[in-house]
């Protein structure tokens, strides 16, 4: 949700970094989005297409790398990918309380000309 505001932030970040590099064009933007953030990639693409018009980010390829939720068991140290919010430890049955992946929400890198 809030993909409009989120996309505004993304554009602001990439333009800032593009301008620092004196870029004429931003050709590719890679985002890392963890599953825990509940952000919908299609909505970001939709808003990006609108908001990037007349900027150096217009027509940039938007690549979204989704990061699955990974948890670690504090009791036995086992790690697993937690699909469907199932945090039960596969080894000892305790509930894993440590998130080792899945909260990422960043602009990873851009490609410029």
């Amino acid at each position: 949700m809030h993909e409009l505001g989120i996309t505004e932030n993304i554009i602001s970040i990439v333009l800032k970094h593009g301008e620092k590099e004196d870029a004429k064009k931003i050709t590719k933007i890679t985002l890392k989005i963890g599953e825990l953030t509940q952000v919908v990639g299609d909505c970001i693409q939709f808003y990006f297409d609108q908001l990037s018009k007349d900027t150096i980010a217009e027509n940039a390829e938007l690549v979204i790398e989704y990061v699955p939720i990974k948890v670690r068991c504090a009791d036995c140290g086992s790690e697993k990918e937690a699909s469907n919010y199932d945090f039960t430890c596969p080894s000892c049955g305790a509930i894993c309380t440590e998130f080792t992946a899945g909260r990422e929400f960043l602009v990873d890198d851009i490609e410029v000309e």
Partner: protein, 217 residues
């Protein structure tokens, strides 16, 4: 040419939340972010909580709603300083809104700040405000499947209040189901069952809260 960016997309809100946090620490203010669906009983719960702690602590409230002054006026009618934020459409409060609202409070005379978030089980979970404690209310009429449907909110909260417990007899609400699901999402979750109408369970909540506040400030 590839350029590393590695910048958090919500970094602006997180930075402002940290600034709020620094101000709260400096002024020794304990801050509660109260979240729930519309109608779960947030404002009534705030009034009961204030009644229980006001002899020990000076309380102020920030109210968040899309529109109207209804909630802030209810709080003010009890003599408690309150600021109403109207988000004009935003479905959650963000750190910058809190930062602006704080300008309208005399923070040197506040020990406990309760922030009543916009009624919503989805979005508030993503936006830090600088709080000490996240409290989520689930009321009996809403049903026992909410932790399954809104996992992030139930995973993120520190305290779960099961409100309107006086209505249990009239519903099929399965408390064990909520306990099982919330334990799997959040084993450290502290749960209180209460009714703001009958006062059942209020004392246990207030006593625990006073202990938490005393530890913190």
């Amino acid at each position: 040419m590839k350029v590393d960016v590695l910048e958090n997309i919500l970094s602006v809100n997180e930075k402002l939340a940290e600034e709020n946090r620094e101000l709260f620490d400096k002024k020794k203010i304990f801050v509660i972010n109260l979240m729930a669906s519309p109608g779960a009983g947030k404002t009534s719960f705030i009034l009961k909580t204030i009644a229980g702690i006001k002899d020990k602590f000076k309380v102020a409230v920030i109210e968040g709603d899309v529109a109207s002054q209804v909630d802030a006026e209810k709080i003010k009618a009890h003599g408690i300083p309150s600021v109403q934020i109207n988000t004009g459409g935003a479905c959650h409060l963000e750190a910058n809104m809190i930062k602006n609202a704080l300008k309208h409070l005399d923070l040197d005379n506040v020990d406990v700040l309760v922030i009543e978030n916009v009624g919503n089980l989805v979005c508030p979970a993503d936006f830090k405000l600088g709080e000490d404690l996240k409290v989520l209310i689930l009321s009996i009429p809403e049903g026992d499947d909410k932790p399954l449907k809104y996992p992030l909110m139930f995973a993120e909260t520190d305290v779960l209040i099961l409100n309107k417990i006086d209505l249990l007899e009239l519903s099929d609400f399965d408390q064990d189901r909520v306990k099982d699901v919330t334990y799997k999402l959040n084993p450290d979750l502290k749960t209180f069952k209460l009714s703001c109408k009958s006062d059942q369970g209020i004392k246990e909540w207030v006593d625990w809260l006073i202990g938490r506040i005393d530890e913190a400030i």
